[in-house]
Structure formats: structure tokens, C-alpha cells
């Protein structure tokens, strides 16, 4: 663990990413305290440019405080990114573990299923799911989870296949341990490093997907997210570009930070690959 932290800390860009990410998390946590009101409320005159007194990020066409939207949007983006990734990991690891551990017919059937899901264009699939089942935080989370598990399943299956034949797993089988216990306590922990790396990078993709859906109007109508601010702001792009520009910068910085942290994790967890 100490070794891991030392390796991670030596990667300067990963540490910078972690700092930015910590800032975004702080924004998300501070949102209810700093902006206790509803971010949808009209609080000032419309189209105040950024750096106006009291409204550092300006206001939008309805006189809503953009800074409040940015802070509350951080909550939505991080929450949806994390939970959707959790859903994808749950499905992907389960499918991959069963396929890789048991092999044979189960493997064949599950990999066919994975291939099917991988063929359907992910973002389009997410649009269809959210549109059919009506936009809400839950449907957006589930849709992103459902479209992004196949790579996790393939990765997990590969790890399980190679670990399945190792001596320590055979020893567990020989002493009569149950399959569930072997999978959960012995194989999975050894397969965890690449899964963690993939998961961390998936949070970034999930945030981008959520932003894209919200931009198209496919987000919970009661929740303000960065993508939905951009979707509304594009109507007045020519006269009030800041409404579109600021949330986009927020998305970019957050996604960049998560990608840097993910790559730092990759380097720290796979020391053999360093220097690439």
C-alpha cells in the first residue's frame, strides 16, 4: 500500500489530476451550503455577464445564477458518473467472472450476449433507453450502466481465465471450497487491479455520456446538470457565450482530472508498464 502511494505520488500529472478532482468534489459537497436555494430559481436580472457583483459566473436568460448551477451540476455529474460506473462494474464483473470461471456453455452464451451489447452503438442505445423509459436520474444511471458493461465483462473474463488454472485456485478446489467463495475471496481480489483502473476511466466516460444526454434534453427535468445548462445556453450562444462556455470547461476539467488519476492508478498498479 505504501509502495503504491509512493509510486502514485511520483506521477506529477496524476497528483495534479487528484487535486482538481478534490476541488470538484468539494464544490459538490459545498453546493447545498453555498447555494442553499434551488438553482432553477430566478435570482437576478437575466444576462448578467461573468464577474458581475454577487454573480461571479453571471446569470442566464432566465436570471438564474450560473455559479449555483455549476456547483449543483458538480453533484449531479459526479453522482451519476460514480453510480452508473458502479452499475456497469456490477454487471460486467458478474458476467465476466461467471464466464471466465465456469467456461464451457456458460462462457459461450455470456460472451455471445456481451458481443451483442457491444455491437449496439452505446450512446444511441442510451438515448433510446432514456427516451423510452422517461428521463430521470434513475433511468439515466441505469442506461449508462447498461450500455457500458461489455468491456468490463471481457476484461474480467480474461483475468479469470488465466487465474482459474493457477495452483492456488486448484488448491481451493481440492480442499472442497465452494465456487462462490473461491470466486469472491480468492480469484476476484487477484483480478482487481485492472478492473479498478478500467472503472476509474469509465467514470470519466460516464460523465461525458451524461452531459451528452442532458444536452439533448434527456436528463431529469428537476435536476440541473452541466449538460442541460449547455443545452439551454446554445440558444443564446451569439449573445451570451459564457452560459455555454463555463459548464463545458467544468466538464472538461473534471473529465481530464479523472483520466489523469486513472492513468496514475494504472502506472502505480502495473509497475512493469512504467516508462511507456
Amino acid at each position: 500500500m505504501k509502495d503504491f502511494l509512493r509510486r502514485f505520488a511520483r506521477n506529477r500529472s496524476a497528483v495534479a489530476g487528484l487535486a482538481v478532482l478534490a476541488l470538484v468534489v468539494l464544490m459538490a459537497l459545498a453546493a447545498p451550503a453555498l447555494y442553499p436555494g434551488d438553482p432553477w430559481d430566478m435570482v437576478a436580472e437575466p444576462f448578467l455577464p461573468p464577474a458581475s457583483p454577487g454573480y461571479p459566473a453571471g446569470t442566464d436568460m432566465m436570471g438564474r445564477d450560473i455559479a449555483a448551477g455549476l456547483f449543483h451540476g458538480a453533484r449531479v455529474s459526479l453522482l451519476i458518473g460514480l453510480v452508473a460506473t458502479g452499475v456497469a462494474l456490477l454487471i460486467g464483473v458478474s458476467v465476466g467472472a461467471v464466464a471466465g470461471y465456469f467456461g464451457g456453455l456458460a462462457d459461450n452464451a455470456l460472451m455471445r450476449l456481451t458481443e451483442l451489447f457491444q455491437t449496439i452503438p452505446a450512446f444511441l442505445f442510451a438515448i433510446v433507453l432514456v427516451a423510452i423509459f422517461r428521463p430521470s436520474v434513475a433511468t439515466v444511471v441505469l442506461a449508462i450502466g447498461v450500455v457500458s458493461w461489455p468491456p468490463v465483462a471481457r476484461l474480467t473474463r480474461g483475468e479469470f481465465l488465466s487465474l482459474r488454472g493457477r495452483d492456488f485456485v486448484q488448491a481451493c478446489v481440492a480442499i472442497g471450497m465452494g465456487d462462490t467463495r473461491i470466486i469472491a475471496l480468492h480469484v476476484l481480489p487477484n483480478a482487481l487491479a485492472p478492473i479498478v483502473v478500467t472503472g476509474s476511466l469509465m467514470v470519466a466516460t460516464a460523465i461525458l455520456t451524461e452531459a451528452g444526454l442532458a444536452f439533448l434534453g434527456l436528463s431529469d427535468p428537476n435536476v440541473m446538470s452541466w449538460g442541460s445548462i449547455i443545452g439551454a445556453g446554445r440558444e443564446v450562444l451569439r449573445s451570451a457565450a459564457w452560459i455555454t462556455a463555463l459548464p463545458g470547461l467544468a466538464i472538461m476539467l473534471t473529465v481530464l482530472a479523472i483520466n489523469l488519476v486513472g492513468e496514475g492508478l494504472n502506472d502505480a498498479l502495473n509497475p512493469r508498464l512504467r516508462g511507456r
Binding site: 455491437t119 449496439i120 444511441l124 427516451a131 423509459f133 452531459a211 444536452f215 450562444l237 489523469l260
Partner: protein, 326 residues
């Protein structure tokens, strides 16, 4: 030649179950959606009696058992009959095929641009690893990789259309201009630049990173040492020997990206008002036209399957050893 044909037939046969699976899946989604076609039609007519809705269900075969409906649906899909879009008063497949060329033009331009730039930048970065050019390219790739595609498009409109006035901000033609021949092609090309670049930049970043990693990997192989030993210059080694071998993972990536490219074009076409499949999907969402939306999903998936077959063929051309494998 005959073995190549046999291989192609076998590869196509492998694709059939996937297409059928996707169609079954689409059928399931259509039935999971709240409200069926009869409800939609009745709502369209501004409310109807329960008896009338029941009659509609009978007419569409919606009162039949599910397996019968599934069989009928699959037969229809095989005949490319994807139902009717009441919002557009047009068969779904006709609507999709009328919008497909614009999307293909956008996708092919974007992917060609991304592939070319990605190879160029990736090779440049790999040849100056950890020096200034490499660092600049890698940082730019990281930034672009994190930028939402639709936001990038909007910022490009702001810069190139609103402030500089160089390029049109949306659409595919100049409205009312009625160009013909070369003038028409130039007009479309001018409208294509911004959406194609917006869509391409994300993939350029992806290909640059992949190309750099792939080049560095191949640089370590023994045949490269041999090429150097026989006195070839670094430029010839990189471009003629290493590049060819480093291209294989790029081709794989090209096949894997088709689906994501289709998703990206929904966003780009919405931003730029490009009259393609993606914009049609966005309109279908706004109009709650589920039949049309699912038709687009189905045909996009089939497109992905088709591109994968083509990529496999390309693979066999690039690396003859692969064709021997089943």
C-alpha cells in the same frame, strides 16, 4: 481466391445470429416501452374510445401471442419494413435511407481526418519520445480527449462562424442558393468542415495516443535493430518499417469505433443542424417517435456489424498470416 470467398461467406454467416439477436432485442424494447402503437395512434387522433383502440390492436396484430408478433416482426425486418412513422408520414426505412448519405459523408470525412492526423501526430510523438514535440502532442491529445464533443462544436461555431465569419454555422447547403455541379460540391464541403472537424478531433486524440504507444512497442522489436544495422536512416525505419507493423491495432480500433462514431454524430448533427441520421434520432426523441428511434438503433447496429466484416477483410490484407486462422 476460392478460399477467400469461403472465408467471406463464413464471416457473413457469423454475423447473421448477431443481427437476429439485435432485432429480437429491439422487439423486446418496443414492448417494454409504456404504451403500444395503438395507444400512440389513438393519442395522435386526439383520444379514442377503448373499443376503437381494441380494434386498432386487432388490425396491427397486437392482440396476438408474443411469439407470433415476434415472428412477424422479424419477417418485416428481413424485408426492411421497419413500420411507419406517423410524425413524418413516411415509412421508417425510407426515412432512414434518405438521411443515411449525409451521416455517412460526415462519418467518413471525420474518420479519414482522424486516422490521417492520428498517424501523423502519433509517429511524430513516438519519434521524439519525451521531448518537446511529444509533450506538446500528448498534452493536446489529453485535453481534446476530455472535451465534450458537442461543446467543442459550439465553441467552434463561436470562433469560426460568429467571430471570424469564415465558415457557415449549420446546415448542409446555403439556403436558397440552388447551386449545381462544382459550386454545389464546394458549398457542401464548406458546410462540412466544422462538423467533420468537431467529430474528428476526439478520435484524432484517441488515434494519436494509440499510434504513439503502438510505434514505441514495435520500435523495440528485433527486426527494427536489423533495419538500423543495415544502415537505414531513422526516418526510413520509422515510416517504412515500424509504421506498417504499428498500423494493425489502429485498424482494429477503426472497427471498434463505428458505434461510438454514430453516437458522436447524433451530438454533432444536433449542434450543426446537419440533416443526417443523428439529427433524425434527436427529432425522434423530441417527438416521442419510438418506432423511428428503434429503427435507427437497429440499422445503426447492422451498420456496425457490416463495418466489422469489412475491417476483418482489411486485416487479412494488411497481415496475410491472419487469413489462415478460422
Amino acid at each position: 481466391m476460392r478460399s477467400r470467398l469461403a472465408w467471406l461467406l463464413r464471416r457473413l454467416a457469423q454475423a447473421v445470429p448477431i443481427v437476429v439477436g439485435i432485432a429480437v432485442f429491439n422487439f423486446a424494447l418496443l414492448h417494454l416501452a409504456p404504451g403500444d402503437a395503438a395507444d400512440v395512434l389513438a393519442g395522435e387522433a386526439g383520444g379514442a374510445t377503448p373499443e376503437y383502440v381494441q380494434q386498432l390492436r386487432r388490425r396491427f396484430g397486437l392482440d396476438q401471442p408474443l411469439p407470433v408478433q415476434l415472428g412477424r416482426y422479424l419477417l418485416n425486418v428481413a424485408r426492411l419494413d421497419l413500420g411507419f412513422s406517423f410524425r413524418h408520414s413516411m415509412p421508417v426505412s425510407e426515412l432512414i435511407f434518405s438521411r443515411l448519405p449525409a451521416t455517412l459523408l460526415l462519418m467518413v470525412s471525420a474518420i479519414a481526418l482522424a486516422f490521417g492526423l492520428g498517424v501523423l501526430l502519433g509517429v511524430t510523438a513516438a519519434r521524439s519520445v519525451n521531448r518537446l514535440a511529444d509533450n506538446l502532442i500528448s498534452v493536446a491529445a489529453l485535453l481534446v480527449y476530455a472535451t465534450p464533443i458537442f461543446w467543442l462544436g459550439l465553441m467552434m461555431i463561436l470562433l469560426f462562424s460568429v467571430h471570424l465569419g469564415w465558415l457557415p454555422s449549420g446546415g448542409m447547403f446555403t439556403v436558397g442558393a440552388d447551386f449545381a455541379g462544382l459550386a454545389r460540391a464546394t458549398d457542401i464541403a464548406r458546410h462540412l468542415v466544422l462538423p467533420a472537424v468537431a467529430l474528428a478531433l476526439f478520435y484524432t486524440a484517441l488515434y494519436t495516443r494509440l499510434m504513439r504507444a503502438s510505434m514505441l512497442e514495435v520500435f523495440n522489436l528485433e527486426f527494427v535493430t536489423t533495419a538500423r544495422a543495415k544502415g537505414l536512416g531513422e526516418r526510413a525505419v520509422a515510416w517504412r518499417h515500424v509504421l506498417r507493423n504499428a498500423l494493425l491495432p489502429m485498424v482494429t480500433m477503426l472497427g471498434l469505433q463505428t458505434g461510438s462514431l454514430l453516437g458522436g454524430s447524433v451530438l454533432v448533427e444536433t449542434v450543426f443542424g446537419w440533416p443526417g441520421l443523428g439529427r433524425l434520432a434527436f427529432e425522434a426523441v423530441l417527438q416521442r417517435d419510438h418506432n423511428l428511434l428503434l429503427g435507427i438503433l437497429l440499422l445503426s447496429s447492422v451498420l456496425v456489424v457490416a463495418v466489422n466484416v469489412v475491417v476483418d477483410m482489411l486485416y487479412a490484407v494488411l497481415d496475410p498470416r491472419i487469413e489462415a486462422a478460422p
